[in-house]
């Protein structure tokens, strides 16, 4: 019997799990995929928004502002790089100017640092910007983080503090006697007093089991394309167009790695699993971003992916219990700015639990996160030497595009990676320009050795995604 069961292991579920792990509670997180962060969070853009896009009267707007402030501390606690690169919203036509002006006024009114940047100053900030663009709004508090590393750090820290994880277990039923819940997940039954629903695009279906489904999730697909890191000076900020009433538009993102990512598209779809990239999507993105930075070329793309935003039918976050099932708390419809808001959502959910009667008693000892991912490539030569002296496996570079060492891959496995994608999202092995051409067999050998699984049984991301078919 658990005090709390969380359904869904994305950034929001893990942020809540870690927040609750501060208290004397027994908590379990249930995830249908074989590893956490394999759903919508896997395709996150990594932007910590300033809050300039959202109305502070909405839950999205309010939690975005709170979240932006919370990230400062959280990134330090979890030893995750957080770079406030700033965002610039640019006017691509005369029509955009009044919209930008209004956004700036609103931002200033609610205290978001922001300013108009024009002409020469704008082009000094972004030298590759189209000569046709002369006005922008700069919001310097926006930043970027590595979204998967963040999710994994939250997961590891929550586990360190006693949260149990049940992975590869899809919730297929939730029963209640009015006092507690019995969750059927895969072939297991989990009992819990409280259930928190962070099931992303499936949140409405999970809510339905508990009769707390007074909302719908409308999946909205976004395709993104990553450019070779060699072109790392193409942009310096996260560049947005002036938003339209329905979308933030297509962005040019300076990622935490220094490389540039372009996208996303925003297409309402029916199939919650449709993460296909499309020719039209790519064309739309390229045409759009070239109106802002004309020098971006198709041939510089090294990777593409698509993710699905869980958009609620209210278009706002849905966070709270429902009248029909007060101990079942939804944290649903968490689309953009969900990553930014995640730490604030975690606090809000903890508060909701408290209000509904759970005693939140702080643990005497909360274990600080002590397993930061030491990236060999980012270390100074002196530290590289030290790392290799400490552990020879730092001298064995398995992924040469991203310079990832065997020691990092082993650490990822010891922290829970079971699949090739799990290694990729934790260490970046295979994310570079050769797309795992050189490192795949190294990574498979290490996975096989550490987990005691034959190589022919290893998968890309669980299920039927076997890497090779059979032994020769």
């Amino acid at each position: 019997m658990y005090n709390v069961a969380i359904i869904g292991g994305g950034i929001v579920g893990n942020a809540i799990a870690r927040e609750l792990s501060r208290y004397e509670l027994s908590v379990v997180l249930i995830e249908k995929e074989i590893e956490v962060s394999f759903g919508t969070s896997k395709a996150n853009s990594g932007i910590i928004h300033s809050g300039i896009h959202d109305d502070p009267k909405t839950l999205k707007g309010k939690l975005c502002l709170q979240g932006n402030a919370l990230w400062e501390e959280l990134s330090k606690e979890l030893k995750i790089p957080f770079n406030r690169v700033g965002e610039i919203l640019v006017a691509r036509s005369e029509d955009d100017l009044p919209v930008l002006k209004k956004m700036l006024d609103n931002a200033k009114a609610i205290g978001i640092p922001s300013e108009m940047v024009e002409g020469k100053r704008l082009h000094e900030l972004e030298p590759n910007l189209s000569g046709k663009i002369n006005t922008g709004v700069l919001a310097p508090t926006a930043g970027v983080i590595p979204p998967y590393e963040m999710t994994y750090a939250l997961y590891e820290n929550a586990m360190q503090n006693g949260v149990k994880y049940l992975l590869g277990s899809k919730v297929i039923n939730i029963a209640t006697d009015g006092k507690s819940f019995v969750i059927t997940a895969g072939d297991k039954e989990i009992k819990a007093d409280y259930v928190i629903n962070t099931a992303g695009v499936y949140a409405d279906e999970v809510a339905k089991f508990a009769g707390a489904d007074n909302f719908r999730i409308l999946p909205r697909k976004g395709e993104e394309y990553i450019l070779d890191k060699r072109l790392d000076n193409i942009n310096n900020h996260v560049i947005f167009p002036t938003p339209s009433p329905i979308s933030k538009g297509v962005l040019i993102i300076k990622t935490i790695e220094g490389s540039t990512m372009i996208g996303p598209t925003a297409d309402d779809i029916k199939d919650k699993e449709d993460t296909t990239t499309t020719e039209e999507g790519l064309k739309k993105i390229l045409d759009f971003v070239r109106t802002m930075i004309p020098g971006i070329q198709k041939k510089d793309i090294i990777a593409s992916f698509a993710g699905i935003r869980p958009v609620s039918n209210t278009n706002d976050f849905i966070i709270g219990g429902s009248k029909t099932a007060p101990c079942f708390i939804n944290a649903a419809g968490i689309q953009s700015p969900g990553l930014t808001a995640a730490p604030a959502i975690a606090l809000m959910v903890a508060d909701l639990l408290k209000k509904s009667g759970i005693r939140l008693e702080k643990k005497r000892k909360f274990n600080k996160y002590d397993k930061p991912h030491r990236r060999f490539t980012l270390a100074s030569n002196k530290d590289k030497e030290l790392l290799i002296k400490l552990n020879k496996a730092y001298g064995n570079i398995v992924c040469r595009c991203e310079t990832v060492t065997e020691a990092e891959v082993v650490a990822a496995i010891r922290n829970g990676a079971k699949t090739v994608d799990g290694i990729k999202f934790r260490t970046r092995a295979g994310m570079g320009r050769c797309q795992a051409g050189f490192c795949l067999h190294h990574v498979m050998k290490i996975l096989s050795r550490e987990l005691g699984i034959p190589e022919e049984k290893l998968t890309k991301r669980g299920g039927g995604s076997l890497i090779v078919k059979e032994k020769r």
Binding site: T276, L282, N381, K384, K392, V420, L466, V468, K471
Partner: protein, 415 residues
């Protein structure tokens, strides 16, 4: 950090790097350091267990490992120091090479000359932007080759090969021999991407259909590839509505090779956007004196044999550089003219003998390869982008070339 000094450091012990090391040794250089990431020398040759190596260089038909072995044996009997399982992670602004391995940690190498021989990598599905899902079962042909020939695994059983590069065609045959069914090889262009001998020996002999003017336009499958949609391509290179689907569990991409030049960029060397390698003269010296590059890191070659030849030139030139006898003062630019995509090397300095390699932009029949001053004049029945044109320049021709400002190479149809 451990610091060592040497006369020549060679980065990469594939066919280019090994040939360079041996030639530099023969030229009398005492201290030569050859480094490679892998546990044994030979580079990609070790996984190329098919034959066809050495025909040009040794007039022998060897497999990749046999070809590599002829060099490895000589290196073992030489004074060349070989450092394996060691990766060059950086070239500093003052051109010191930083190496990393598990036993030494980091090593800073000061060398009088550097020979870059990093080879190339394969273009991926992502770089050719094929839409669809991203399941497992998608490999570059070279990765599949490694799985089958070295690691001992079958990547899959029902195969479609995208692109008709040499490795793709060789893997179509290899997978067939291992019991897989290769349903198709698709090629976007109207002509194949690889050598004629591979079309005959790898596809025709095994009844594997080659679909020219066709491309995969969609990939299906959530966990593992389940199929592809293939479209006929029109003469503008765009997909048409004429499509068909093939069920498969594996896709192999053979859509081009890209020279590996991350280290070259640190030197720094300017990269020729056409070849993907740095600009070089006919001693394979880059624009930075004392830094040489050879093989597929310089430009993608058709044959390992050519790579070895270039390695020998680079190794000898590096030795001359170390001995102070390399003379590259007079330079004549070599320029790609009509119907030529690139010519390499980019500058002529030598007076004894030079081999130029050119790749054409399209397949043509009954043509003449010519140059400024009428110095080159070769008639060809057929030329293809997949087969480089070799042009030998002897001392007499080089003397004439020295009087030119630049040497423009053209390919024109015979009327």
């Amino acid at each position: 950090m451990k610091k060592i000094s040497t006369d020549i450091i060679i980065i990469g012990a594939g066919p280019g790097g090994m040939a360079a090391a041996l030639k530099a040794g023969e030229a009398g250089v005492k201290k030569i350091l050859l480094v490679d990431r892998l546990p044994e020398p030979g580079g990609i040759l070790q996984q190329c267990i098919h034959n066809g190596f050495g025909l040009h260089k040794f007039k022998k038909d060897l497999t990749g490992p046999e070809y590599a072995d002829t060099y490895i044996k000589k290196i073992k009997n030489s004074n060349i120091e070989v450092l394996l399982q060691t990766m060059a992670i950086e070239i500093t602004k003052d051109n010191k090479v930083i190496l990393a391995n598990g036993s030494d940690g980091l090593i800073e190498v000061s060398s009088k000359a550097i020979v870059l021989a990093m080879g190339c990598r394969e273009r991926t599905r992502q770089q050719v932007s094929i839409p669809g899902t991203r399941p497992s079962g998608i490999f570059t042909a070279g990765v599949a080759q490694r799985f089958v020939n070295i690691e001992g695994f079958m990547p899959g059983k029902e195969v479609v090969v995208v692109g008709s590069g040499d490795i793709g065609m060789i893997m179509a045959r290899r997978m067939t021999l291992e019991g897989a069914r290769v349903h198709a090889v698709t090629e976007l262009l109207p002509y194949p991407g690889g050598l004629t001998r591979n079309i005959v020996q790898c596809l025709n002999d095994f009844n594997i259909p080659l679909h020219l003017n066709h491309n995969v336009i969609k990939i299906y499958g959530k966990d593992r590839v389940t199929g592809v949609k293939i479209a006929k391509i029109n003469n503008k290179g765009e997909p048409t509505d004429e499509t068909f689907e093939i069920s498969c569990d594996t896709l192999l991409f053979s859509v081009g090779l890209i020279p590996e030049n991350e280290l070259s960029r640190m030197v720094p060397l300017e990269i020729n956007p056409i070849t993907g390698g740095p600009f070089i003269d006919d001693t394979y010296q880059t624009k930075r004196p004392g830094v040489f590059i050879c093989g597929n890191a310089a430009f993608v070659n058709d044959l390992a044999d050519y790579v070895s030849c270039e390695g020998e030139i680079a190794g000898e030139a590096a030795a001359n550089y170390v001995n102070g006898s390399l003379n590259t003062v007079t330079k004549v630019s070599v320029v790609a003219g009509e119907n030529i995509r690139f010519v390499a090397p980019n500058f002529i300095t030598r007076t004894d003998h030079v081999t130029l390699y050119a790749r054409v932009t399209q397949q043509m029949r009954d043509v003449t390869v010519s140059s400024s001053g009428g110095i080159i004049n070769i008639k060809k029945q057929i030329i293809k982008p997949s087969e480089m044109i070799e042009m030998e320049l002897d001392s007499e021709k080089l003397k004439k070339i020295k009087e030119l400002k630049e040497l423009v190479i053209d390919v024109r149809p015979n009327k």
